[in-house]
């Protein structure tokens, strides 16, 4: 390592923070254009769905435990359980399935 680690960290932090900060400070008014509003309304659903699947299947030690966690999360979320319950139940299922098969 020839370069300074602290400068690396600083560069990373500044770039990453500016990406987060600029839209939030520059867009200060409510956007009136309905197409843009619709686009921004749909953004979270697409982003979160793309990030979840198929990545969840490869997050654990076994694809089967992950699949179990995935299914239980969908079922519980569909039934309107809280974020906390859905998330922890998925973890619990992964843990139990791995106890059984590994």
């Amino acid at each position: 390592m020839k370069n300074n680690v602290y400068i690396y960290i600083l560069v990373m932090a500044v770039v990453t923070y500016l990406i987060r900060l600029l839209p939030l400070t520059l867009i200060r008014k409510e956007i009136k254009n309905n197409t843009i509003r619709s686009f921004l309304y749909y953004v979270p659903y697409v982003t979160l769905a793309v990030m979840t699947f198929p990545a969840i299947l490869y997050a654990t030690s076994s694809i089967w435990s992950a699949l179990g966690g995935f299914i239980i999360a969908i079922v519980l979320a569909y039934r309107g359980k809280s974020l906390f319950k859905v998330s922890l139940s998925a973890c619990l299922v992964v843990f139990l399935v791995e106890l059984l098969i590994c």
């Binding site: 197409t35 982003t47 769905a49 198929p54 998330s87 922890l88 106890l99």
Partner: protein, 238 residues
Amino acid sequence: MRNNISYWKKGFRDGIPIALGYIAVSFTFGIVAKNAGLSVFQAVLMSAVNVTSAGQFAGLGLIAASASYLEVAFTQLIINLRYCLMSCSLSQKISNDTSFIHRIFIASGVTDEIFGVSVSTEGKLNPFYSYGVISIAVPGWVLGTFLGVVSGNILPERVLSALSVALYGMFIAIIVPPAKQNKIIAGIIMLSMLLSLAFAKFPLLEQISSGFRIIILTVVIAGAAAVLFPIKEDTNEK
């Protein structure tokens, strides 16, 4: 004032699963950071000021390869560009008169997960809700890093594996309930997952990094949905 405290508490509660998931991920980051030659302080500092998993992992790789600062800056820009989309979305979720100071602090917490819970709150986003989430999630991220560096085997493999789905479980808890009431959202979610799978599996497409995959699919799918199914004027308030 009283109201702000209750928003803060609610955020804190929603932040607990995020913190748990973060510990699992940043624990691994800590181990990798140690192997890349970072000290405990350096690894913890990097986590505290960046709070971005993919970006930090990539950063480690670049540091280990003695990359130039410009390369590091450019890589972070590409990998984390999705935060820009999220910030744009959040700018419409907070009320118009939100002060500059609040915007600065909200921006510090724009991560996939904190964005996910913030954008799913009812009505306009109260900054104190974000602060509640940040005040538990970010320490979780930093703590996991610390534990990962100082002791690679403090958490059993099984527990780590189980905690790795916490964040995905949370994403599902956020997107499924609205999909139940809105067929368009349900369709968009399924299409997004299918195309994401295709991008992960098909030759050529699989070479696109996951950061870019998220940006491309978000722009294309949300863009098409906006043109085909524009929202009605009043639905954006929800």
